[in-house]
Each structure stands twice: as structure tokens, then as C-alpha cells.
Amino acid sequence: MSDDVFEDVLLAAQEGDENAFAQLWRALNPPVVRYLRTLSPSSASDLASETWVQVIRNLAKFSGGEPAFRAWVFTIARNKVLDAVRHDHRRPRSSSDDIALDQLPSPDDTAQLAMDNLSTDAALDLIASLPRDQAEVIMLRVVAGLDATAVGVILGKSPGAVRVAAHRGLHRLQELVGRPPVTLSAQQEGFQ
């Protein structure tokens, strides 16, 4: 969505145009849900709904272009995750699904799952197995399409730190895959 188109759509949405808001939602909800899946797999959809409710409430106050809007939405999503984590820490549950993401052990079968079916869900699970900061940076850089500066603003880090975290995550991801790329591609071709 170009900047001019985005401005028109955003203005229409701020004035109450339902279709305009639907365009924004369709464009941003999938990456938001995927980002939330990597941070809180069990409650990604709920957090996404809360994120959009917050977006709707504050939509009239927003001003800026598409990158800023994208960063704003993901900032809200991240804040929702943090609120959920704080709430879970105050009221701990026995379910292992609610354990913080950075405390989860890396599943042993994630790489194999990725090899077997490199679908979006498998790729997200693979990224989610990374340390939280690395997974978050990769998701924001790749899925949300934000640059290092915007990611740094969201995460409270410098662009250099974001870059380092992303590189570490990619190295870790390469180790998780564990196979030469050629082999992986060959397996993909074989499955297909």
C-alpha cells in the first residue's frame, strides 16, 4: 500500500469508514497474529483482538504514514503481550502453555517439523523457538516489515543492538535447521 493510498485509507478509517478500516485490518492482522504467535502462542488470537480494539479506540488520534502506523500497531500488540505476561506472573497457572516464551525449551522436533512441512505455522514455530529477543527482532524485521530503527523504538534498543540480535537469531535459526540449504531445498522439492 503506497503512502498516498494509505493516507486516504487511514483518513477514511478515522472518519468512520468501515471498509477503509477493513483494508487496514486485512493488511496488518496476519503479521500481527504471527508476531503474537511467536511471543504468546496460546493466546495470540485473543491478544490480536485486544490489539485491534486498542487500535480502534485510538485510531482518531493517530497521525503518520504507513511505517509509523505499522510500528504503532505492533507496539500496541507488544504491550498487550507484556500485559498478559505480567498478568500471568501475578496469577500463575499450572498450564505449561502460559509459561513465558523465553522460558520455554526449544522443541527437539521443531527442525524436523520444519523440514517435513515448511508451512507458515512451522516457520513461525521455528522462529518462536529462538530466544525471545531474537525471535521478536526477526519477526518485526521480516514479518512486520519494519526497519532496524523502528524495531529499536518498539523494543527500546538501539538499531545496532537490533541488528546484532537479528544476526544472532539467524545464526541460531541456521543451526536449528541443521541441514545444508541444498538438502533442504531438495527435500522440499521431494515433498512437493
Binding site: 486485512r26 524485521r141 539467524l170 531445498s185
Partner: protein, 428 residues
């Protein structure tokens, strides 16, 4: 490589070994993160990671768009609420405010302002008419110079402005008398000792029981205000100062012109108004011969510009009575002119002091004034306002052996001389 390790590109300037192709590796990783810039053919070792990232950023799946209806419903609900609480444009606000203000100004606001003015004016008038409750009357006395609520024996009627002008020399009379009662003349220009205490016990109606002002009383209040303004104007003029602009405006309005000559003529012709606090005429005492003023008083007086301002200002030299007619004014300190200039309220006169009012005291041994260490000796706020006993130099507690209780108005009996009285005036 473990999680705690760093890859070579993070520390490129270290002098030891680093992995080859670190810089190239970092560029490749940046290209991986930027969608569409990664060349998988040139970097086959990162092909698998590229596939993972591409899959993560793939097109939306139907499950990810399932909540559109609910989200749009929330959007509709929010829009309804936004319309209800949507702020109006600023221009419209301004118009509304202007319309409401223009509507309210001649109506409610004007009525409110008028009510406030009437209230304040009425309060001041009531204070001068002594119809307020005693505490409020006392407050009005200390703030705006209204008569004291309980001082019925002394009146502004006892002051003859013309006479005190004609007799600038302070006269203090100490008449030996066996009775301690003191009466101050109301119509005459002097205070004298009367043999009976009846004058001081003249019936005084309770001022708090007065419901309202009658026209005569109101006229007396107005005359009293004008008279006091004239007094302040005259005194300050003599001191080389100017009256407060507001007070001067009132006085100029009453005089008909703001020229000093007109005001002076008006003030000179202004009769001495009666004290509205007094329901009954004051007892009139015959003038008594005044004794020779003490040298100390004169010494004090010479430091004061404007003559005997301290008399009617209620700041009187302490006259210590003695069995002999000799009056020993006990002021030893000299009030500097600078103390006068520090008077904070230039138009706030101290009181109506009879210029010829003599200090009468019973024949008690001379008591030397006690040096006061406190900056506010005794009842520092209570004296020197003319209407009161103390202000007229006839402090009741001064009739004993502690120094005649002059204008300073000391409740604790500590003699207050002119200097202390000046300090008192300054604090007010």
C-alpha cells in the same frame, strides 16, 4: 557456537583471529532480513533460513482473517461512541462561549458583580455603623479602621479637627484624683478626669443587635468615612506622602475635585461626624487645663514631620502619672522619620485622636517604661486606632501604676511610648 558466544562480525577490531567472511556474512544476514534482497543462489548456506523467513512472511491464511467480522463490529460500536463524544470544532466552541458569555454578562454576571459590590460595600458600611457582630467588627476595626465594637465611650466626635490643628503642641494632663475612673470628653477637645466613674459605665447598646441602618446612621457612616479620609489625606500631606489612589479618588469625588486645594478646603470644612457606634451621645466633659507637655514628648515630636500626628494617630507618648502634675513622658527612644516612611498603609489612619486630649491618670508613682524586647510589644495590634480606649490614650489598664496606658494600647499594662506606638502603626 553457543548462545553466549559472539560471532566475529560483532567484534571486528579485535586483534586476534576472527572468522573469515564475517563482514560478508553480516551483509548476507541483512539481506535476509530485508525481504526480496537475498540472493539464494549466491549464498546457498543461508538458503534454508531464507525459506523459513519467506514462509513466516507468506501471504495471509484464511484463519488469520477470520476475525474480521468481530473486529468491524467493534469498530462500528466504537464509531458510535466517538460520534457521541466527538469534540466540537474550536470555532464552534468559540461561538458558543461568546454567545453564552454575551448572554450571561448582562444578566447573571452583572447581577453577581453587583451583588458582590453591594455585599462588600454593605459590609464596610455595616462595619462603620457597628452593626456587625463583635468579632467581625473587631476585624473591621483592625483592617479598615471601623469603630471598635465595644468602645462606646470614645468617639470620633471627641475630635475637633480644627482644634487639633490649632493646638499642635501635645497636652498631657495628669490631674490628681483619688478615683481611677477616666472619662474622655466627647465634644470638648480635652480629656479630663471626672470624679465619678459613671461616664465610663454609660449604657451602651449591643451593637450586634442592631438589625439595620437607619438613614441618619447611614449618613453618619458616610460622614465618618469622609472625615477619616480627610484626616489621612491631611496627615500624609504633611508627611510629604500621598494618599492611596483609591482613597484619594473617593475623597476627590466627595470633594468635587482632585486638586489639593479643593480637597484641603473640603476637609477643612468637613464637620466632625458622630460616632455611629454610639447610640447615645457621649458624655461631655469640661475642658481641663492642660499641663505643660513634657520635654520628652517635645523631643519626640521634633523628629516627626507633620507636627502632632501621633495624637490623632493614637500613637501617644507615654504619660506617666505622678502625684504631682508633672507629666513624665517616658519616651526615651526617638522615632526616626524612617519609621514613618515604613508605614505600610499610607491611607490607613490610626485613629481620631483628640489633639487636646489630655492624659489623665490617677496619682500613682511614676513608673518607668519597661523596655520591650519583642518587636510587637504587648498587644501590638490593638492600639492606636483612635476609637478604642487605648487609641485615645486612655487605656484602662494604664490607670494604674504602670504608666498611663497611652495610645499604644497595651493590654498587659506595659507602658508604651510613642516609639512603640509608631512601631505599632508600622505593623499595621
Amino acid at each position: 557456537m553457543h548462545d553466549d558466544d559472539v560471532w566475529g562480525g560483532e567484534m571486528p577490531n579485535l586483534p586476534f583471529w576472527r572468522r573469515h567472511n564475517d563482514q560478508t556474512d553480516a551483509e548476507q544476514l541483512d539481506q535476509l532480513l530485508d525481504a526480496g534482497q537475498f540472493d539464494a543462489a549466491a549464498n546457498p548456506e543461508w538458503q534454508s533460513v531464507s525459506d523459513v523467513l519467506r514462509s513466516a512472511a507468506a501471504a495471509a491464511e484464511p484463519s488469520e482473517l477470520a476475525g474480521e467480522t468481530a473486529t468491524l463490529a467493534a469498530f462500528r460500536r466504537e464509531q458510535v461512541g466517538i460520534r457521541h463524544r466527538r469534540p466540537q470544532p474550536i470555532a464552534r466552541y468559540k461561538t458558543v462561549i461568546a454567545n453564552r458569555f454575551s448572554t450571561l454578562l448582562p444578566g447573571r454576571i452583572a447581577v453577581g458583580l453587583a451583588a458582590g459590590v453591594v455585599t462588600l460595600t454593605g459590609a464596610a458600611t455595616a462595619a462603620y455603623a457597628c452593626v456587625l457582630p463583635a468579632p467581625i467588627q473587631s476585624f473591621a476595626h483592625t483592617t479598615i479602621g471601623a469603630p471598635r465594637p465595644s468602645d462606646s465611650k470614645l468617639s470620633v466626635a471627641a475630635v475637633d479637627a480644627d482644634n487639633w490643628k490649632n493646638h499642635p503642641t501635645p497636652s498631657v494632663s495628669a490631674t490628681p484624683t483619688p478615683t481611677p475612673s477616666v472619662s474622655v470628653s466627647a465634644a470638648a477637645v480635652t480629656a479630663s478626669v471626672t470624679p465619678t466613674p459613671t461616664a465610663s459605665k454609660s449604657p451602651v447598646p449591643k451593637v450586634t443587635e442592631k438589625p439595620a441602618l437607619d438613614p441618619a446612621q447611614l449618613a453618619a457612616v458616610e460622614a465618618l468615612v469622609d472625615y477619616r479620609l480627610c484626616q489621612s489625606y491631611t496627615t500624609l500631606t504633611n508627611l510629604g506622602k500621598s494618599l492611596d489612589p483609591k482613597a484619594l479618588a473617593i475623597l476627590a469625588k466627595a470633594a468635587g475635585s482632585s486638586t489639593p486645594a479643593t480637597i484641603a478646603a473640603y476637609c477643612a470644612a468637613l464637620p466632625v461626624p458622630p460616632n455611629p457606634c454610639l447610640a447615645q451621645p457621649l458624655p461631655t466633659a469640661s475642658p481641663s487645663p492642660s499641663t505643660t507637655p513634657s520635654a520628652n514628648i517635645k523631643d519626640n515630636d521634633k523628629y516627626i514631620k507633620g507636627g502632632d500626628w501621633w495624637r490623632w494617630c493614637g500613637i501617644c507618648p507615654s504619660a506617666t502619672a505622678s502625684p504631682t502634675p508633672t507629666v513624665s513622658a517616658t519616651s526615651t527612644a526617638t522615632p526616626g522619620v524612617s519609621s514613618l516612611h515604613r508605614f505600610p498603609f499610607p491611607w490607613f489612619w490610626c485613629g481620631d485622636r483628640d489633639p487636646k486630649a489630655s492624659h489623665s491618670a490617677k496619682p500613682t508613682p511614676t513608673v518607668k517604661p519597661t523596655p520591650t524586647k519583642s518587636p510587637f510589644p504587648g498587644n501590638w495590634w490593638g492600639g492606636g486606632f483612635g476609637f478604642g480606649k487605648d487609641g485615645n490614650g486612655q487605656g484602662s489598664n494604664g490607670q494604674g501604676g504602670n504608666g498611663a496606658g497611652t495610645g499604644g494600647g497595651q493590654r498587659d499594662g506595659t507602658p508604651m511610648h510613642a516609639v512603640q506606638g509608631a512601631d505599632t502603626a508600622q505593623h499595621h
